[in-house]
């Protein structure tokens, strides 16, 4: 192994470690920002760490009729969240990342495990929330896959045209926006209710883990925070990558661009969640089909542009 590869590996590992450790901070700051925007003082951004420490100390109870699936599911979900971190595009160019389709599969696996656990525990609310999650997932998946198709096609067409096209095309920005929208639904951030509420019937994201307490819940909470971080930083990294590519600068500038985008995204998300109280689950359909529509439009535009560029 030569020196360059070692550096890449070190960068990738560092990025992944930060992803795992800082994830609760991201979700904590989101809650804090929301509180501040509402004029409340709110919990400190580090509150999730305290929650996790408290939860990790207690043993959860297992329903009498449950099987080993219920005991294993939080660990599976947590593992999936850990692996997602490897799929983030590297800040340091040159280091490889996990395939995004594999990342989608991993997200699906986490959902699958948690839904099985919900069936296993037998709680109606958990299964109902899982059903809603899958409804959203079914709509989100095509958007994300076609977005990956867009980026693949772009790279092929650029390579055929002899390269040179900047990553800062307006189409790419559109696609990143649509992906962000889809990921918003995937991470349960479409506000079907005020996010601070803990009303069982309206909970989509927290619902499936309703039967867990203690360590199981801690694993699930942490995994959820990681998934949120994954979604936000994916969008931020793609954007920062686009900005950084234009500047053609070293890691310092791209890290700066990333942090700035991340902050902007957090603020925007908090504002969005506060403004958009109560989306009906069905209206997610409109939102997500338009996200898919945006990507398809960008794809068509890309192909047409490359065809007319050839003439």
């Amino acid at each position: 192994m030569n020196g360059l590869a070692l550096t890449d590996l070190a960068w990738a590992t560092a990025q992944w470690c930060l992803y795992v450790t800082l994830a609760p901070l991201v979700s904590g700051s989101l809650a804090w920002l929301e509180a501040r925007l509402q004029g409340r003082r709110g919990p400190a951004p580090t509150q999730p760490y305290r929650d996790l420490r408290k939860l990790l100390r207690t043993r959860p109870a297992v329903p009498v009729q449950a099987t080993a699936i219920f005991r294993l599911a939080p660990a599976v979900v947590f593992t999936c969240a850990l692996l997602l971190g490897a799929a983030l595009p590297p800040l340091h160019p040159g280091a490889g990342a996990m395939d995004l389709l594999l990342a989608l599969g991993v997200i699906g696996l986490a959902r699958f495990a948690l839904t099985l656990a919900a069936f296993d525990a037998g709680s109606p609310v958990a299964v109902m929330s899982s059903g809603r999650q899958w409804f959203l997932h079914v709509l989100v998946e095509p958007t994300l896959v076609i977005a990956i198709y867009f980026s693949a096609t772009r790279s092929i067409l650029v390579a055929r045209a002899g390269g040179g096209e900047s990553a800062r095309s307006p189409l790419t920005a559109l696609v990143i926006g649509a992906v962000g929208l889809a990921l918003l639904a995937e991470t349960g951030r479409l506000p079907f209710d005020t996010h601070g509420s803990r009303l069982e019937l309206t909970m989509i994201e927290e619902g499936p883990g309703l039967d867990y307490g203690g360590r199981g819940l801690a694993l699930l909470r942490w995994a959820e925070a990681m998934r949120l971080t994954f979604a936000l930083s994916l969008v931020a990294l793609l954007t920062a990558g686009g900005l950084g590519a234009g500047a053609g600068a070293g890691p310092a500038i791209s890290i700066g661009a990333f942090l700035l985008t991340m902050a902007a995204l957090l603020l925007g998300l908090a504002g969005f969640e506060l403004r958009q109280v109560r989306v009906r689950p069905r209206s997610a359909l409109t939102l997500l089909t338009s996200a898919a529509g945006i990507v398809v439009f960008s794809l068509v535009a890309l192909v047409v542009a490359s065809a007319s560029g050839r003439r």
Binding site: L72, P74, V106, R111, F135
Partner: protein, 704 residues
Amino acid sequence: MTDLFRLVAGLLVAGAVIGYSAPALGRLAHLPTERARTWGTALSLLPAVAASAVVAASSARYLTDCATGAAGATPCRTTATVLDLPAPISQGPYLSLVLRVDALAALFLCLVAVFSGAIAVYSLGWLRGDPLATWVAGSFDLFVAATLLAVAADIGLWVIISLELITLFSADLVRYRGRSGGSLIDSTTAVRTYLTVSHVGVVCLLVGLIPVLPRSIDGLPVVPAAPSGVAQSVSIGLVLTGLAARSGLVPFHFWVPVVHPQLPTNTHAMMSAIMLKVPVYLMIRLLLGHRLGPVPRWWGAVLLLASAITALVTVAYAMVSKDLKTALAYHSVENVAIIVAGLGAAVLFGAAAGPTPPHSSGAATLALIACLYHVVNHALFKSLLFLGTGSIERITGTVHLQALGGLLRAAPWTGVPFLLGALAISGLPPLNAFISEWLTLQSLFGGGAVYADRHAVAIAALVALTAAVLALAMAMALTATAILKLAGDSLLGPSHTAVRRSGQSWPERAVLALLALACVALGLQPWLLVPWLTTAALPLVDGAQAGVLHADPFRVLVGIDGYTAAVSTLPLLLLWLLPVLIAGVAGAHRWPRRPAWVGGTGYDAEQMQYTGSAFSAQIWEPIARAVDHEPPGLLPGAVRVTSRRVVVEQGNRIVNRLLRLVLRSSEAFGARVHSGDVRRYLLYIGLALSVGLLIAILYPVATP
């Protein structure tokens, strides 16, 4: 190869004869019925196991030889005339049975043999105590023989004959439910539907193939030149229609769920996992083997669109199905759609475009490999799921989802493999189907060079590829939901039926465990099959690029010029190891059990368990309607999801309408032609005689 053919055919026919005659022989020998049945079944199935082992071993060796180049000629191909039948008239169709085995055929032969062998072993246990056991075993032998023949026969009249044999023997098995106390009406409907669809398919195929069927000239087969222009388009269209009918693509998806559940569950596995692949095999053979000339690339777009629609439609019906067998039958068609999508992409990217290989031939190679990979994977997880369903049926006596539950606890030897199969069919890592679905999508992604082509091709490609990517992605997510519904209802929650503890025999357990292990192993080490698949795929693609897929124990790497993607096997392994580790650290096995409560009261599983159909309600609600007046017809016109809501089966309704039309018109026509007037029949005889004479004059008798 002639000896091998004789051995296998002899074994299977002997097995069938033993199976059919066992009851009579037992009576002659004054054996008790029960013993005669047990011995007859065993003696009838063991030849099938032996024949499968022989075919699997020799085709695996052949494939390995092809892969290493030890077979001699490249691309390797072996032909042998195993049955010499002189053609009665000169220039008539060539009648001798010629077997033609190349890498692709060897792959499919191996597939058929391995899984029919597994199913035969499983049946040794599953058929125990079944009054119809010997008959099922006998027909199963012949079914296997016909399937092997369809794969090995050279393109010609024998392919049609073997397809008809498949229909015959499997239709015999479709009568099972009716004979074992099920609804006779359903059984008759199923047999009739099956025969009709199969025959329509075969007729389309035959008419489409007529221009290229080998003719006998001086006793030698001469393959006519491939048609071109409109004639070629008509030919390809007919062939694809015929094969689509047999593999259940939309609009022919209606027959699968009507017919398949009537089969005994062990042969249901054979039909869904293996038989549906035979038309796919013939598609690959005919389109990519240049038998119909270079295939215009827009046919690929047609195939892709058909598979996109099929995947979405069938997965929706699978979601609202009420019993395991119907739901899984729909899933089979959905998976065939994913397979055909790979084939369609290969054609679209120019796998059969002729002498000048297009820019996108790398993607075409990958698409064909992905298609073959999914064929293998689907056979694996689908036979696992169906055999699991068979065991579920045996230990509970039902396959209705609402009557099942809690099987993971009550019958872990069935439940755990079934759960693994469910994970596999959902296309989730770290199981086997993930990698083939990943490859299928990657081949679609890697075909961007197709847009640099002529405008007509580029537009067709844009429409078809976008539709296929969207539909396949959605279908994969929907499959996971539909399967969760199945698994949640049948494996988890409270059990609604008594479970027979002694219900499961050791052959069943062994086969289920082996298939499940194979799913896990292939998921972890996806490269294992790649050399064989590549060997089978490369000779079929014009301008094939061997380097598009690189697979080793550490990663699977796709590299089409301008596009690369890779899956490392490390995360797949971690997905198995880390959860166990984390659960161990968290002490999950020591978490105490407590009675659950819901909304302040004690949890009563019988009353409160959420059902699978309620779980998937968000998704089926938009397509469900309030109960409407169902027009009468042979096939069910709607699937009932709740007591007040149905999902309309549009395909079935159209078929019903067609059937009524045919019946009415044939009644009117028949009354005229078949009037009972003797003079009229004399006229028919005279006409037939003159037609025969005319043929005899035009085509003189061949001189021996």
